[in-house]
C-alpha cells in the first residue's frame, strides 16, 4: 500500500505569540517549532497501515528550510521517504498550500493520504479537504478510527459529529484527516533517528512546480485577543459564604441562572 502523509511545522503550543510590527504576521524569532500534533496521528496511522499491508510511507511538507526537521522526525518514526516543497509558507493560503501538495503528490502512487484535521497555528481545517478536491479523490475529516478493507479498495472511517459518530465508507484512493484518538503516535527511537539521516529527502522548489498560488484571502490585521473586562473575585470568610454570594450574583447580576 502506498501511503502519503502531509505534515506542517508549527509553533509549539506553549509559544508566546507576538504580533510583528507589520501587524499582519507574527514574530518568528523565539519560536520552538514542532510537527503539528494532528499530523503525528497521520504519520502513526500510516506506519500501522504499512505494518499491516506492506508498501511504503512518504511524508510531504510545504514550508521553509526549517520544515526539514519535522520531515526528519517522521522519517525517524519510520516513514520511508520525504518530499520537501520549499516555500515561504506564511504567505500561502490553504488553497495554494493544497495546490502545491497536489503537484508534489499527484505523480506519487497513493492509496491513502493522511493530513492532520487542522494545523494548530491558523486553526483553519481547510487544507485536507482542498487537497482531496484537487486530486479528485474523496475525503473524510476528523477520523478517530480507520479500517481499510483487506483488498484495499475501500475503507471505513469513524467521524464524530455532535451527539453521534458516523461511520463513513470511502472508496480508495481517499484522504483522511486525523483527529486525536485515532492512535497513540510512537516516539522516534535512537536507531530510527540515525536511519532517518540516510533516507531520501526530495527537495522541490515551490516556484518550479508551476502552480497558481494567488491568495484567496486578504489579511487586514492580526490583533491581540479581545480583552474581557476584569472579573470579580468574590470575598467571604468561608467557602459557604463565597458560594452563596456567587450564586446570588449569577442570578441577579449576570442573569445566567
Amino acid at each position: 500500500m502506498e501511503i502519503v502523509v502531509c505534515l506542517k511545522q508549527v509553533p509549539d503550543t506553549e509559544t508566546q505569540i507576538k504580533i510583528a510590527a507589520s501587524g499582519k504576521a507574527i514574530e518568528t524569532g523565539d519560536i520552538k517549532w514542532v510537527m503539528n500534533p494532528y499530523d503525528e496521528f497521520g504519520v502513526e496511522e500510516a506506519l500501522q497501515l504499512k505494518t499491516k499491508f506492506g508498501g511504503s510511507v512518504t511524508v510531504v511538507s510545504v514550508g521553509p528550510d526549517r520544515a526539514v526537521e519535522s520531515l526528519r522526525t517522521a522519517l525517524a518514526m519510520g516513514a520511508d521517504k520525504a518530499v520537501h516543497v520549499t516555500a515561504d509558507s506564511a504567505e500561502l493560503d490553504s488553497l495554494a498550500t493544497a495546490s502545491l501538495l497536489a503537484a508534489a503528490i499527484k505523480d506519487l502512487p497513493h492509496d491513502v493520504i493522511f493530513c492532520g484535521q487542522r494545523a494548530i497555528d491558523l486553526d483553519q481545517a481547510q487544507v485536507g479537504a482542498a487537497l482531496a478536491e484537487k486530486l479528485g479523490i474523496p475525503h473524510v475529516a476528523l477520523v478517530t478510527k480507520l479500517e481499510v478493507a483487506e483488498d484495499a479498495s475501500k475503507a471505513k472511517a469513524n467521524r464524530p459529529v455532535e451527539g453521534q459518530t458516523n461511520v463513513i465508507e470511502a472508496s480508495l484512493p481517499a484522504l483522511f484527516t486525523a483527529q486525536k484518538g485515532l492512535n497513540e503516535p510512537r516516539y522516534a527511537s535512537l536507531p530510527g533517528i540515525m536511519k532517518a539521516k540516510r533516507k531520501p529527502m526530495d527537495k522541490k522548489d515551490a516556484a518550479a512546480l508551476g502552480v497558481d498560488v494567488t491568495s484567496t484571502r486578504e489579511i487586514l490585521a492580526l490583533t491581540p485577543p479581545p480583552s474581557r473586562p476584569p472579573g470579580k473575585i468574590i470575598g467571604g470568610e468561608t467557602a459557604e459564604e463565597k458560594a452563596v454570594e456567587l450564586v446570588r450574583l449569577l442570578h441577579e447580576e449576570a442573569k445566567v441562572v
Partner: protein, 329 residues
C-alpha cells in the same frame, strides 16, 4: 442585479439545528446593512416544511433539494448540489456554521469553487465597499486574524453560539424554490454506512447552554459526581480539562480545549481547572466564565468574570444547593 447573501441550513433527522438559525441571522444582518437579499439552502428528505422557520429568521428565499442521497449530510452530495446552485446564481456571499459538518462542507466547497474561506469566525462585518470581513481566532486564541475572504462568493463559517439570533418574525414566509437532485451517482464516493448514536443521554458540549467542567483539582474520577449533580440541577453538560482526560478520569469526548472541543455556552463553570492557555482556547467564547479554585494564583482567575478562591469540595455542593433554590423559586 441585487446582491444575494446565501447561507446553508443544517438539519438532523429532518429537523433544523439551531446553527441554521444562526447562519440565517448572520446573513440577514449583513443583508440589512448592505441592501442585499438572502437565501438559504436546505437539503434533506421531508424538510420542505422547515423552510418557513428559515423565513422567520430572515431568509427571503429558500432553495430546497430533497433526495435520499442528501437525507443526511454527505460531503460529496452536498458539495455537488450547492456548488451547482452557486455556479448558477453567483451569490456574493455563502455563510454556514462552523459546526462539524459545516466546516467539512465549507472546506470542500471553497476548494471546488476556488474561493476564499474564513473559518470559525467570531465576528462578521462589512467593509466600506460592502465586502465581508471576518475576525477569527488563531494560535489557539492567542491572536485574532481580521481578514477578507476573496472571490465570489466570499465564504465564511461562524463559531456556534457566538453571533446570536435575530428576533424571529413568524409572519415572514420565504419564497421556496424546489431544486431537483441531479448529481451523477459516480460522483458520490463516500457514504454513511452506520451511525453510532451517543446513547448516554448526555448533553452535547458544543450545544450546551451551561457547562460545568472539572480539572486536575477534582483529584480523581470518583469525585465528578458532585459536578454531575450540579449539572443535573442546571440542565448543564459536564466537561473536563486535558489533565483529567489524560489521567483517564473522563473520556476524550468531554475534553474542552485546544485539542478537545471548542465550546461557547452562556455560562462555563471551571472547577479545579488552573486555566492553561490550551484550555482557554476551548472556552474563551463563553459568555460568562466562573472559576472555583483554591489557588488564588491560578491563571483562570484572569479570564473569569466571577471567581471564588475556595476548596471546590466545599464550594460546589453549596453552589448546587443555591442553584436549586434559585431555579425552584
Amino acid at each position: 442585479m441585487a446582491q444575494e447573501i446565501w447561507f446553508v441550513a443544517e438539519q438532523r433527522d429532518g429537523v433544523l439545528r439551531k446553527v441554521s438559525f444562526e447562519a440565517a441571522s448572520a446573513a440577514r444582518r449583513l443583508a440589512d446593512e448592505s441592501g442585499a437579499s438572502t437565501a438559504g439552502i436546505l437539503l434533506g428528505v421531508g424538510v420542505a416544511g422547515e423552510a418557513d422557520k428559515l423565513g422567520a429568521y430572515g431568509a427571503d428565499k429558500v432553495f430546497v433539494c430533497e433526495d435520499e442521497a442528501v437525507k443526511n449530510y454527505a460531503t460529496d452530495a452536498y458539495t455537488a448540489v450547492i456548488a451547482g446552485l452557486v455556479q448558477e446564481h453567483q451569490p456574493a456571499m455563502l455563510l454556514m456554521s462552523a459546526s462539524v459538518d459545516g466546516k467539512d462542507l465549507a472546506s470542500r466547497l471553497a476548494a471546488r469553487l476556488g474561493v476564499g474561506l474564513a473559518m470559525d469566525c467570531v465576528e462578521y462585518r462589512l467593509t466600506d465597499d460592502k465586502k465581508l470581513a471576518a475576525k477569527r481566532p488563531i494560535y489557539a486564541g492567542k491572536a485574532m486574524m481580521d481578514m477578507v475572504p476573496l472571490g465570489t462568493p466570499q465564504m465564511a463559517t461562524s463559531r456556534p453560539n457566538v453571533l446570536g439570533l435575530i428576533q424571529p418574525d413568524e409572519s415572514k414566509k420565504p419564497e421556496v424554490v424546489t431544486v431537483p437532485f441531479a448529481v451523477d451517482a459516480a460522483e458520490l464516493k463516500t457514504k454513511v454506512v452506520d451511525v453510532l448514536k451517543d446513547t448516554s443521554g448526555k448533553i452535547e458540549l458544543t450545544e450546551a447552554d451551561i457547562i460545568v467542567s472539572g480539572g486536575r483539582g477534582m483529584k480523581g474520577p470518583e469525585n465528578y459526581n458532585i459536578l454531575e449533580e450540579m449539572a443535573e440541577v442546571l440542565g448543564a453538560a459536564v466537561g473536563a480539562s486535558r489533565s483529567a482526560v489524560d489521567a483517564g478520569w473522563r473520556p476524550h469526548t468531554d475534553q474542552v480545549g485546544q485539542t478537545g472541543k471548542v465550546v461557547s455556552p452562556n455560562m462555563y463553570i471551571a472547577c479545579g481547572i488552573s486555566g492553561a492557555i490550551q484550555h482557554l482556547a476551548g472556552m474563551s467564547s463563553s459568555k460568562v466564565i466562573v472559576a472555583v479554585n483554591k489557588d488564588e494564583e491560578a491563571p483562570i482567575f484572569q479570564k473569569a468574570d466571577y471567581g471564588i478562591v475556595a476548596d471546590l469540595f466545599e464550594a460546589v455542593p453549596v453552589m448546587t444547593r443555591e442553584f436549586k433554590k434559585v431555579l425552584q423559586s
